[in-house]
Amino acid sequence: MATKTGESAWARLVAWAAAEGSTVPMALVRIGLALLLWARWGEDMVLVHADGPAMVALSLGFFTATALMFVGLWTRAATATAAIVVATMYFGVGAAGGRTAWIHHHHFLLMSATVLCALTPCGRSLSIDRGRALARASRLGAPAPDERGPLLGLRLMTAQLSAIYLWSAIDKCEPGFLSGARLEQLAGFYYFGSDLPLGTAMTIASAIAASSIVALEFALAIGVWRPRWHRVLLPLGVLLHAALYVLLPVHTFSATMVLLYLAVIDPPAVERAVARVAPRADAARG
């Protein structure tokens, strides 16, 4: 019985991971990632900063691949190239080459999301490739190709989100953070300096905030996998990241995390939302 249950759970996992669905969410992730890659790395990758042929090649590869990724032209190849370029920037130039300004948490998240995006058919929607496919079908008198594809890449993005929340919450499970002291220290470092107004009210507020953050992170680590929790948890997650974005120098971290929520949400729901915002695009698909 236990074996059967185990087998059925495994079969369910395989079916879930291998399921197909709308390609609209991954297309939105692709477009958002291209913008975030420019926001984070664009200035550093300008050719005037490139010292040596290798960095020139990397810069050219970066801008060409991300531009094609953004507009969705030869999208699979462009996204795969962007993933290779960004992984080279992170591991090759950053980690191995000692350019540690390129290996912060937000850089890793961008790199990881780009690699995972390259595993998706993210060019089947909201892309020039889509327009060309429709034109080809129209020319041949064939039905418009479906905007559907494997959801594996989105599932892996969900795993990345879950891992970040889980390990971030585990890291905070120590008295220094849960007491609120570490939040006070952050406030002191970034805002108040040595004039931090320590006192009972601040201690209580910091401790409540600290416990709430840890509880929310643990909830999100589990909740991203549980669609029923999304309606409550994802807005709270967006609020958390918005607050972090405004209060701390998180660079592209918050925006990337919220962008990856598109991988978590049920794909048809994302497609419906896009159709509501851009009804003409929806009509064109029909």
């Binding site: 991971a17 191995a96 892996l156 971030s168 002291a181 220290q185 300096g193 040595s194």
Partner: protein, 141 residues
């Protein structure tokens, strides 16, 4: 493939966060982990001959305004940072008995650094080092 990649994403941070490994090639998720460690929050006062203390504003005493004060004055870091400000105050105020109530930020929370027990304008007696007042070195450098 899904299981292998997902397991990697979920388990690899353990190398750094659970087992203490240090590698630039492995990402932990210890966000803003050591920021603020070593920060000193202090109030200064001058003690008179009768033991009465009068608080002093370090900015006013040094003829500065907080908004334009240098970083070492606004954000004291480590006991050395506190003593630097104390040294400036002693030089400006002349022969005074300068006291401080100060706490220092560690990963475990706030730790008392001075409770007004010493005149900071005189050499301090040897004191035990407070553990955890410097970053642990978890950041990639």
């Amino acid at each position: 493939m899904f299981v292998a990649v997902a397991a990697g994403l979920l388990l690899i941070p353990a190398y750094r966060q659970l087992f203490g490994g240090r590698s630039r090639f492995v990402r932990d998720w210890e966000l803003f982990n050591e920021v603020g460690v070593g920060l000193v929050v202090a109030e200064f006062s001058v003690r008179d001959g009768q033991g009465r203390e009068a608080p002093i504003d370090r900015y006013a005493a040094l003829g500065r305004e907080r908004a334009t004060a240098p970083r070492w004055l606004r954000t004291m870091t480590g006991e050395a940072g506190l003593m630097r400000v104390a040294g400036e105050l002693c030089a400006r105020l002349g022969s005074v008995d300068l006291r401080a109530r100060a706490r220092i930020a560690t990963m475990r929370g706030w730790v008392l650094l001075h409770a007004g027990e010493h005149d900071l304008c005189r050499p301090l007696p040897p004191r035990p080092q407070i553990p955890g007042t410097r970053p642990r070195g978890h950041e990639d450098r």
